[in-house]
Amino acid sequence: MSSFLSSSIGKKLIMSLSGLFLIVFVLVHLILNSFLMFDSTGELFNAGAHFMSLPIIRFGLQPVLFGGFIIHIIYAITLTLQNQKARPQKYAVQNLSNSSTWSSRNMFVLGGLVLVFIAMHLMHFFVPIQIEGNVHDDAQLVKALFTNGSMGLVYTGLYVLGAILLGLHLAHGFWSAFQSIGFSNKIWKKRLEKVSYFYAIFVAAGFIIIPLYLHFFA
């Protein structure tokens, strides 16, 4: 088993399973966020946020989620370092634009930028709501971030950018996870790619619309 985990395919399997787990999380997160648009009083969102603060979630599911992130990040670093080492001498001229997509070649960079975004995002919401625990109206906290003066526009822009980066990461990551597990062939690759693009656009669009909506209409 240890030889399996140290093999290239074993490490890729861990990458895909943790990735698929995070893909599910992102969807749950988006559904919860969408409550902000469907209920202007914020009660629906607050109820959702309250549920996410229940001990069973905080001490049961949250460590699993953080674990998923950490595994995904550690293996991304390990694999990328190995890949760098596999080509000690680089090409003087290399043209990959007609043989692969930009996002597929820049997954590590995209993932790193998404991580920077997540760090900022945690500081905005996770820390005051779940660590400090002194927020009573979570929806108001969210609305305030996107509407407060000129910084409101800056944060709206940053969240839109974060959503775009996440979308690009998912566009390759989704179908790629299935490929690494072995669940793909000539027919299914096309189907999975379509689902992948649809999912990436859906998630990115969702996370873009919410801050824009709050900034302009809340």
């Binding site: 093999s7 290239s8 890949n83 596999a86 080509r87 003087a92 043209n95 490929q179 072995g182 062939n185």
Partner: protein, 253 residues
């Protein structure tokens, strides 16, 4: 119709005396090359000129010159086997280039493929991966009867498509991670799809992947660049199959 003549081209080529020396790109001018000249013939012409001038000719790999042996390599203008699809470098013609163009030619770049001289790299790593795959259990002796073992049409076709791999190394050369997954997956697949190769399929997948990792090839990130640059159009569906074979081999243990 007469082929167009390229009056002047600049050839920027990697020159490296031997495996231990440090190489560099050097530029040469070449004149009056017909569009119908193959890329390797163009290098032959250039080499003849270099020899006449008393310069060491450019060393490059080649053999059949009809796209079936997998010997020619070359990273031309940033692409494995140059600017055309589903061909080897020997099948590339000068009509794909334009007047006055600077053509950059580099050897395959991968830690597992060290440069021996100029454009020639040592692709013995592929042989080592093949060797680690081991034997298949078929009886030697007389020629077997045709269709004695029933094989479905689709399986036969898929096995044949995978067997089209000529082991040129374009997949490794073009992959941003220098991963050999397309090569290994083709070699695993063409046997795994057939009953004769099924017997040792699990062991084969495990051993070949272990050898591939040991030799320092990178990890696959599914960019799909390999299948585009592969002269034989080997599909990355084979990589999914290799992943399946490898995972099921692990579970069975």
């Amino acid at each position: 119709m007469a082929d167009k003549i390229l009056k002047e081209l600049t050839i920027r080529v990697w020159r490296q005396k031997d495996a231990k020396s440090k190489g560099k790109l050097e530029s040469y001018k070449i004149n009056n090359i017909s569009g119908g000249t193959s890329f390797l013939e163009m290098l032959d012409i250039l080499n003849e000129e270099l020899i006449n001038k008393g310069t060491e000719p450019i060393a490059f790999d080649h053999d059949c010159r009809e796209g079936i042996c997998g010997m020619c390599s070359l990273f031309v203008n940033g692409r494995a086997h140059g600017p055309d699809n589903d061909i080897t470098t020997c099948q590339l013609h000068m009509r794909k280039f334009s007047e006055g163009e600077t053509i950059t030619i580099e050897p395959w770049r991968a830690g597992a493929f060290p440069v021996i001289k100029d454009l020639i790299v040592d692709r013995m790593a592929f042989e080592k991966v093949l060797q680690s795959g081991g034997y298949i259990s078929v009886n030697t002796g007389g020629v077997p009867d045709g269709n004695a073992i029933p094989i479905s049409y689709d399986d036969a076709e898929e096995a044949m498509d995978a067997a089209a791999c000529i082991g040129c190394g374009a997949c490794v050369a073009t992959c941003k991670n220098s991963s050999a997954m397309l090569f290994v997956s083709a070699k695993v697949s063409h046997l795994a799809k057939l009953p004769q190769g099924r017997v040792e399929a699990t062991r084969r997948a495990k051993n070949m992947v272990a050898k591939m990792d040991e030799l320092g090839f990178g990890n696959c990130t599914n960019t799909g660049a390999c299948e585009v640059e592969c002269p034989k159009g080997i599909s990355i569906a084979n990589i999914a199959r290799l992943n399946r074979e490898f995972l099921s081999a692990t579970i069975k243990e």
